[in-house]
C-alpha cells in the first residue's frame, strides 16, 4: 500500500533526514517507528503525509506514484492519510466539535454531513460529553483524542501518529494506543512513531527502527534490545 523505493530526503540546508529507504507497508498493518532523536522518524512520516517532498527515489501510495504529485491533486491523497501530532495542533478558539467539523468543512462537505460525521468520531474517541469544551478545558489525553477524531473524520485509509503520546502520562498513553488499536482492527493502517517503549512490548506489531536516516531493524512481533 505504501512503497518506498530508494527514497532519500534531503532538506534545503543540506541535512539528510532519510537515506536510501526501501520499505513496504501493507494495508491493515500497525507499524511502530522507533529510533533516537534526529534519526529521521518524522521525516519518514512527513513524506507519507505529503508534508515533505521526496528528494530522490519513488514513493507509491495505493499503487499510485505520489513522488511528485501535482499540487492541485495533492489534497486527494492527503484525505486518505490522517495525521496526529505530539502537540495535538488543535485550534484553541474552537470547541471540540468545531475542531473536528473544521476538518470536514475543509474538504467541502455539506452542513448535515459535517454534523453527522463529526459527532460519530467524537463519540468514537469517547468525548461525547465534551463536545462543547474548548481545548484549554481538556486534559492532554482528551486533547489528543480530539486530534485523533479530527484525523479520522474524513475516514482515511492510513493514520500517521508522530509521537502521539509524547506529552502524555502512561495511563493516557495506553488509552490513546487502544484507540489506535481499535482503528487498526477496523481496517485502518496505523503508523506511529514513538519513544515510549512500554507501548511496544508485547504489542505484537511490526517495529521499524531507524537510525541516522536508515532502517536498522524491521521485525514483526516484539522488540529485543534498546
Amino acid at each position: 500500500m505504501i512503497e518506498f523505493t530508494n527514497v532519500s530526503k534531503r532538506y534545503p540546508n543540506g541535512v539528510t533526514g532519510i537515506h536510501n529507504l526501501n520499505l513496504n507497508i501493507n494495508k491493515g498493518e500497525f507499524v511502530f517507528v522507533i529510533g533516537p532523536s534526529g534519526a529521521g522518524k518524522s521525516s519518514f512520516l512527513k513524506m507519507i503525509s505529503l508534508q515533505e517532498k521526496v528528494s530522490t527515489g519513488q514513493l507509491n501510495f495505493e499503487n499510485e506514484n505520489v513522488t511528485n504529485v501535482n499540487r492541485f491533486k495533492a489534497h486527494l491523497y492527503r484525505r486518505k492519510v490522517g495525521v496526529v501530532f505530539q502537540d495535538f495542533k488543535l485550534l484553541p478558539k474552537l470547541t471540540v466539535y468545531q475542531n473536528v467539523a473544521f476538518a470536514l468543512e475543509a474538504v467541502g462537505l455539506s452542513a448535515t454531513e459535517v454534523r453527522k460525521k463529526a459527532m460519530k468520531v467524537i463519540y468514537l474517541v469517547g468525548l461525547g460529553n465534551k463536545v462543547l469544551s474548548y481545548p484549554n478545558q481538556l486534559s492532554g489525553g482528551e486533547q489528543q483524542r480530539v486530534a485523533i477524531a479530527r484525523a479520522i473524520a474524513n475516514n482515511p485509509d492510513v493514520v500517521i501518529a508522530d509521537e502521539p503520546t509524547g506529552n502524555l502520562d502512561p495511563e493516557n498513553s495506553f488509552q490513546i494506543l487502544s484507540i489506535l488499536k481499535k482503528l487498526n482492527e477496523e481496517g485502518k493502517t496505523i503508523i506511529m512513531a514513538t519513544h515510549n517503549y512500554d507501548l511496544i512490548f508485547d504489542s505484537g506489531c511490526r517495529v521499524i527502527r531507524i537510525d541516522k536516516g536508515t532502517i536498522v531493524q524491521d521485525e514483526v512481533m516484539g522488540y529485543h534490545e534498546v
Binding site: 505529503l50 489534497h75 485550534l91 475543509a106 467541502g108
Partner: protein, 301 residues
C-alpha cells in the same frame, strides 16, 4: 445546493477577513479609490482631448509659393509631384492673376476708381499652391521637403499652435497615465499586504486545512473574496464620483470647458463606459493583489 452553501461560507469568511483587518482593508480601499478616481480623470481627459486634437489636427494646410520666374513646365512638374505624394491629402493651385484678383477684390470692393489704380501697378504676387497634408506629422515632413525644392521660394503654414497643443496634451496624458500606473501598483501591493496579514493570522488553520486535504480552491477562495470585497468597495465611490461629477461639470458649462474650442463629450454613454472600465480595473487589481499573496503565503507547505 451544496455549492451554494459552500459559496456562502467562502463569502462569509472573506467578509470576516476584511473586518478582522479593518485598517489594512481601509487603506487598500482608500488607495483604490484614489487610483480609480485618477484613472477616471485620465480617461475623461484622453477622450476629450482626443476629439479636440483631432479637430485642430485637421487644420494641416500650408501654402507654398513658386519662384517668380517659374515656367509652365516647372509648375506642372510640382503639381505632378503633389498628385502622387503619399503625405498630401489635397492640394489646390492658384495662379498669381487669380490670387491678385482675389486680393484686389477684397481691398477695393466694387469701387471702380480704386480698382483702376490697382490695375496699373505690377503684379508682385507669386503663383501659389495650397496643400493639405494627411496629418500633422506629415505636414512637418512635407514642409521640410518642399523648403528645399528648387522651383519653390517659400513655404508657410498657419501656426504651430496645433502642434503645440497636441504636444502638451500628449505630455499631460503620459504623465497622468504613468501616475495612475504607479498608483495601481501601489494598490496591488497594499491589497497583497492586507491579504498577507490575514493569511499570517490564520497560518495555523491553513496548515491544518492543507493537512486534512482541503483543495487549493477551498483554501484560496475566501482570500480572493476578501480581495474582491475590497475591490468592489473601492470601486463604488469613484464610479459614483465620476458619473455625478462629470455630468455636473458638463451641465454647468453647457459642455464647454475652459476655452470654448474645448467641447466636452456628452456624458451619456461615456460615464457608463468609464464606470465599466473602472469596475474592471478594480476587480483586476484586487484579484491580482490577493492572488499574489495567496500563491506566495497560503499554498506553500
Amino acid at each position: 445546493m451544496k455549492s451554494k452553501f459552500q459559496f456562502y461560507i467562502y463569502a462569509r469568511d472573506g467578509f470576516k477577513n476584511v473586518c478582522n483587518h479593518i485598517f489594512m482593508s481601509f487603506s487598500s480601499v482608500l488607495t483604490l479609490i484614489i487610483t480609480l478616481s485618477l484613472c477616471a480623470v485620465v480617461f475623461m481627459f484622453v477622450v476629450n482631448t482626443n476629439a479636440f486634437t483631432r479637430d485642430i489636427e485637421s487644420q494641416v494646410t500650408m501654402l507654398a509659393e513658386f519662384n517668380y520666374d517659374v515656367t509652365e513646365a516647372q509648375i506642372t512638374s510640382v503639381m505632378h509631384l503633389l498628385d502622387h505624394h503619399e503625405l498630401v491629402y489635397h492640394h489646390e493651385f492658384i495662379d498669381r492673376y487669380t490670387e491678385r484678383e482675389e486680393v484686389v477684390s477684397q481691398i477695393v470692393g466694387d469701387n471702380d476708381e480704386l480698382r483702376y489704380l490697382f490695375e496699373r501697378t505690377s503684379n508682385t504676387l507669386a503663383d501659389i499652391v495650397i496643400i493639405e497634408a494627411v496629418n500633422i506629422t506629415a505636414l512637418d515632413l512635407l514642409e521640410g521637403e518642399l523648403l528645399v525644392h528648387p522651383y519653390l521660394q517659400s513655404v508657410q503654414h498657419p501656426s504651430d499652435a496645433a502642434e503645440l497643443i497636441s504636444g502638451t496634451t500628449n505630455a499631460i496624458r503620459v504623465v497622468m497615465m504613468v501616475f495612475a500606473g504607479v498608483l495601481m501598483l501601489l494598490a496591488i501591493f497594499l491589497i497583497h499586504n492586507t491579504i498577507k496579514i490575514t493569511i499570517y493570522s490564520r497560518q495555523e488553520e491553513l496548515s491544518i486545512m492543507r493537512l486534512v486535504g482541503a483543495s487549493i480552491g477551498h483554501i484560496t477562495f475566501p482570500f480572493l473574496i476578501e480581495g474582491l470585497i475590497i475591490g468592489v468597495i473601492g470601486a463604488i465611490f469613484p464610479i459614483l464620483f465620476t458619473m455625478i461629477g462629470y455630468s455636473l461639470v458638463y451641465d454647468l458649462n453647457d459642455g464647454i470647458f475652459a476655452i470654448n474650442i474645448f467641447q466636452l463629450a456628452s456624458p451619456s454613454p461615456l460615464v457608463y463606459q468609464v464606470g465599466f472600465v473602472m469596475g474592471i480595473i478594480s476587480i483586476l487589481v484586487s484579484l491580482l493583489g490577493s492572488l499574489f499573496a495567496v500563491a506566495k503565503y497560503a499554498l506553500k507547505d
